[in-house]
């Protein structure tokens, strides 16, 4: 149809914009040699002055990793990754202990400004404690004092290893074991840094916790590790956001996030992921193979994942909940946008083990350009998990006729008292909607942003306020140059 063609032309024009956060910061680096051997792991461990048990953990993981192969079940395609061609450790060179922001490398501050993350502003205005990670090592941590008054620990993973080894030892690997999957095993061997957070019994964390990750050195894989523990009756809302500079080589990113919620605890984990997606022709971009999992360990605990995924050339990510405690709750709210040649295979796993456990899955996939967007989700209800419930809703929105949307739900209900519901829809942005907006004076690009944000509203509403605004802008930016 001629009309369809026109429409696709508009969509294409509007969604062919380029990545706006591609810039590069020149900061002196302290690097490991290229490639991965036991020596590399010993180098990383020594650099970080780690105790023997942690080195052992890494080595066990590495030895296991050498015996396994990359998974091939995901609906993604990429040339083989040469794991010997990656630098596994890079840290900004430590100069000296800093007293104030004035002493921070101005170039680094400038990077933050470009990203809209001025530390000063964040400190003063938003009440968000920011642990900013530029490649691997935490550079600056704020609000530590306020947090420590409440007994909350929020620091880099490396610091936690030094200062709270018992907590790290107790929980690390308890939700994502080092043998879990290829990328998690790799991370367990070579992880560089990340964040650690512990909320003690009965404490409600008074502010949103946030970490901004940013890949910054060419050819440096990023292997963060985050460990978040909410003790009995504790509450925390944690925000994670990323942008990365424009780069030609594909960069590997294999992070692990582990969450433990003890009895009656609640953890809300929100992500805005905007790694460099590659250019219009599918060149470059981040390979994002992430393992995120939460354990509702105690009764009446709750873990809620909210994610807005707009970046990366490839996203492979399934933030999951293991509902072990009786009456525990798991939630997953996701918006995944792919444009140009991006590929996303994302979703969640809800594993119901305790009685009366509940889970909710709301997934909104948006595909444009020649991208592929898959929802992959598993709901498993164990035999003993009587009276459990799951509700899943998976919607796909297509912009244009060259992209793909796929849904792979796996449901496994092990008893007869539980209820599992699954709804799925696929729709296109209609020419009618687009024209209606344009007739009101709104240009096609803005109209698409508006319509897409409306479509994703149910999920965006779950984000903390300051993130919701950023996420809306990001959705619009990501779709610049496409529609259908």
């Amino acid at each position: 149809m001629a009309e369809d063609k026109d429409q696709n032309n508009i969509l294409e024009e509007v969604t062919s914009g380029e990545y706006k956060y591609g810039f590069y910061t020149d900061i002196e680096m302290d690097k490991a040699a290229v490639g991965l051997t036991e020596d590399t792991i010993r180098f990383i461990s020594a650099k970080k002055n780690e105790p023997d048990w942690l080195l052992e953990f890494r080595l066990k993981a590495f030895r296991h990793w050498q015996t396994i192969a990359e998974p091939s079940w995901a609906h993604i395609h990429h040339p083989p990754i040469n794991y010997q061609d990656i630098i596994y450790y890079a840290a900004p060179k430590k100069k000296k202990q800093l007293e104030s922001l004035d002493e921070v490398d101005p170039e680094l501050l400038d990077t933050f400004k470009k990203l809209g993350i001025s530390l000063e502003e964040q400190k003063i205005l938003s009440g968000v404690a920011v642990d900013a990670v530029i490649d691997s090592v935490s550079v600056k941590t704020t609000f530590r004092e306020t947090l420590s008054k409440n007994g909350i620990i929020f620091c880099s993973f490396s610091e936690a290893v030094q200062e709270y080894p018992d907590l790290v030892k107790k929980y690390m690997g308890s939700v994502v074991p080092y043998r879990d999957n290829f990328f998690a095993t790799l991370n367990s061997a070579v992880f560089s840094d990340g964040s650690f957070c512990y909320i003690p019994k009965g404490v409600r964390c008074p502010m949103e916790l946030s970490t901004y990750f940013r890949i910054n050195a060419a050819n440096t894989g990023q292997f963060e590790r985050t460990l978040l523990i909410a003790d009995e009756g504790a509450y925390v809302s944690y925000l994670e956001g990323c942008t990365a500079p424009q780069r030609d080589e594909n960069q590997l990113h294999a992070a692990i996030v582990e969450i433990i919620a003890e009895e009656g605890a609640e953890v809300k984990y929100s992500t805005v992921q905007n790694w460099y997606p590659g250019d219009k022709n599918g060149k470059g971009g981040i390979y994002n193979f992430v393992t995120k999992r939460g354990l509702c360990k105690g009764d009446r605990s709750k873990i809620s994942w909210t994610q807005v995924e707009t970046g990366s050339a490839i996203t492979w990510k399934y933030p999951s909940c293991i509902l072990k405690g009786d009456n525990s709750i798991g939630e997953f709210y996701s918006v995944a946008v792919t444009n140009h040649y991006q590929q996303a295979d994302t979703g969640t796993k809800m594993i119901h083990l305790g009685k009366n456990t509940k889970s909710t899955i709301i997934s909104k996939g948006i595909s444009a350009g020649r991208s592929n967007n898959s929802y992959r989700g598993m709901v498993r209800i164990a035999k003993k998990a009587g009276n459990s419930r799951n509700f899943s809703q998976c919607d796909s929105l297509l912009l244009g006729d060259k992209c793909g949307a796929h849904t792979f739900p796996y449901i496994n209900a092990g008893n007869e008292t539980s209820v599992v519901e699954h709804e799925a829809t696929t729709s296109k942005i209609s020419e009618d909607q687009l024209f209606y907006c344009q007739q009101r004076g709104i240009d096609a690009e803005k109209a698409i942003g508006l319509i897409v944000n409306g479509y994703a509203k149910e999920v965006l509403n779950k984000l903390p306020m300051e993130f919701a605004v950023e996420a809306q802008t990001l959705l619009a930016i990501t779709l610049e140059g496409s529609v259908g």
Partner: protein
């Protein structure tokens, strides 16, 4: 002169629908366009507003002395062309407040006027809602989602009031309306009539023209205007039907 259409030929998928249409609308005038189904009335509205897929093969559309044949729909809108849709579109998840704000900001930006503050904007929304007797809860509802037929049409007139166009095209605004809703819609339109703007009212029925009294009535048949006259022409059509004009 507000709108000057000269020898307009429009095709959809290679099929000619408008076959040499002429129409002149001046400021302060209301023109009714009547005619049987399938004669190209809605195509005319689509061509004036620049909808995709409506190809102008010959002729010109002048708006305020500017040729707009190839202009983007949003540019025409910002220059002051408004269409009240026959079938208003639902946009799930986009609140009326957000939608109108985006539209009004686009217009102000286009005109080089300052953007309204949140307070000014909401005040304006409240004012204009009165005009079409729309309930207060409109603000947070998604655009047209779950609206009744009457609410959708009132919402169109509300948007017109917000955007204050120079030329408003009402495409079958009376279809699907009960008499009470029709009166409200007509009242809204009449309140917006001025020496500064013009209206093109597309309708099948005389009924609407009892409430929105036109200065001129045109009859369309097979892609052309075949007869023009004053408001009394509408009455004649009501009585005799269209057959005598073919």
């Amino acid at each position: 002169m507000l709108l000057n259409i000269n020898n307009l030929h429009v095709s959809i998928n290679g099929k000619e629908i408008l076959k040499g249409l002429n129409l002149i609308v001046n400021e302060g005038e209301v023109h009714a366009i009547m005619g049987p189904n399938g004669t190209g009335k809605s195509t005319l509205a689509a061509a004036i507003t620049g909808r995709n897929g409506y190809e102008i093969t010959e002729g010109e559309i002048w708006f305020k002395d500017e040729l707009i044949n190839d202009m983007l729909p949003n540019e025409r809108a910002n220059k002051g062309v408004f269409l009240s849709f026959q079938y208003p579109v639902e946009i799930p998840g986009v609140s009326m407040t957000n939608f109108m704000r985006t539209a009004l900001n686009a217009k102000h930006e286009f005109e080089g006027l300052p953007i309204l503050t949140g307070g000014e904007f909401l005040k304006r929304m409240e004012e204009k809602k009165q005009l079409v007797e729309i309930q207060a809860k409109l603000n947070n509802r998604s655009v047209n989602e779950g609206f009744s037929g009457g609410e959708k049409k009132k919402n169109e007139i509300f948007q017109m009031a917000m955007l204050e166009p120079r030329l408003a095209i009402l495409d079958e605004t009376d279809s699907g309306l009960d008499i009470d809703a029709l009166k409200v819609v007509a009242k809204g339109v009449n309140a917006l009539r001025s020496n500064n703007n013009g209206f093109v009212v597309i309708t099948h029925y005389q009924r609407l023209l009892d409430f929105i009294v036109p200065d001129f009535v045109h009859v369309m048949y097979e892609g052309r205007i075949v007869k023009s006259g004053g408001k009394e022409l509408a009455l004649e059509l009501e009585e005799k039907g269209y057959d005598w004009l073919k």
